[in-house]
Amino acid sequence: MKYIDEFREHSLAQQLANAIKQEADNNRTYRLMEFCGGHTHAIFRYGIQDLLPDNVEFIHGPGCPVCVLPMGRIDNAIELVEQHDVILCIYADLLRVPASLGKSLLKAKASGGDIRMIYSTQDALKIARDNPNREVVFFAIGFETTTPPTAVAIKQASEQGLKNFSIFCNHVLTPSAMQAILDAPEPVSIDGFLGPSHVSTIIGSQAYEIFAQHYLKPIVIAGFEPLDVMQSSLMLIRQLNTSRHQVENEYTRAVTRTGNVKAQSLMNEVFCLRDEFEWRGLGLIPKSALKLRANYAQFDAELRFQLPAIKASDVKGCECPAILRGAKRPVDCKLLGTVCTPENPMGSCMVSSEGACAAYWSYGRLRGARTNKLSA
């Protein structure tokens, strides 16, 4: 697989590992927050931590759109299916996310809800065209990467006059999340960031410059392949070693400073900022999410079905909020592996394969067992 396999090359990994070992200062720790779930996944799946010295530590960030979705939004989606009898189109990632009262979309589907797993927004449009007598709602979720495909679908629905199609919009913005982490009352100690990869493809690396300037944190836009993660870590270590705090771009093959202008303008045409939006773990963040502009408001399922704002409490004991802020690690959660497992997840971080808990449990547990942090 061209442009994939080269970035998973074992021999280069060894070289990069040695470089990091060489350049990392034994007298300090490097606390690097990998912003994205994609990074988290790569770290665990490829066992990157094993290749790094102990003083280079990854702190898992909030960059998994499924993980930061508050439970009340899943409750809303279940309401759409159960009360309004809509065909709900979802990305399969959402199927097992816990809702209130032990529910989930998987269980709502089993109970008879008409929930369809789609691969692309184009599939949702097709389902709407094929079922003219049913209301079809697309559960739109994702950061800036996934937002433009939703925007395209909305424009097409509008052009095609699709009256039975709407979206339940949960698109959120990564810079807002980064700011929230940095602005937290008791901020987590972070030395630098592995910056978003495919989000940056759309919005460009310049979106993060303000953080580097204002908070004096080095940021390296990092690809999702394991060598990208290692190289970016090395670049962060070098910035830290030389007290720099710049936005550097390791992922130049896919990210420019300005990003995909066409996609940005499409997003801008269809969406505008919400005043505020709740993020799991980070709370209400002003101007951190998108909603449909007034001229596309007829496609807004929240308006069409008058969905209430649901304030759902997370499962007692679930540390997702703290984990998403980087304040705790999966092993700090008492429910991990006992009550909470991938087949019976208590929090969203155990659902998405990019969630820190799922990644730790499915891939990283070995390390925990080895170091006696966890006896399974």
């Binding site: 697989m1 070289q15 960059g63 599939d123 433009p148 190289q231 093959r253 995909n260």
Partner: protein, 76 residues
């Protein structure tokens, strides 16, 4: 964050603004609504059935060179 994969354009359907791309002989249909000026042979980053942008092949090579360099810098 989001799963996206580099794929090579092998056919264009300009009337529908769509393309056929391949990854190791696996063919997928994608929308080109988010990218301009792609041609057959280009690599694009594919996410949820859309091409997000072109892969800059020169930059890819440079990055790989960087990995080697890191190793060399240590080896040296």
């Amino acid at each position: 964050m989001c799963l996206a994969i580099p794929a090579k354009i092998i056919a264009l359907d300009t009337s529908n603004d769509r393309a056929t791309v391949t990854v190791d002989n696996v063919q997928v249909e994608v929308s080109l609504a988010l990218v301009d000026d792609v041609v057959i042979g280009d690599y694009v980053l594919v996410h949820v059935g859309y091409a997000l942008n072109k892969i800059d092949q020169d930059e890819a090579l440079k990055t790989i060179a960087l990995f080697a360099e890191a190793g060399l810098s240590w080896a040296s």
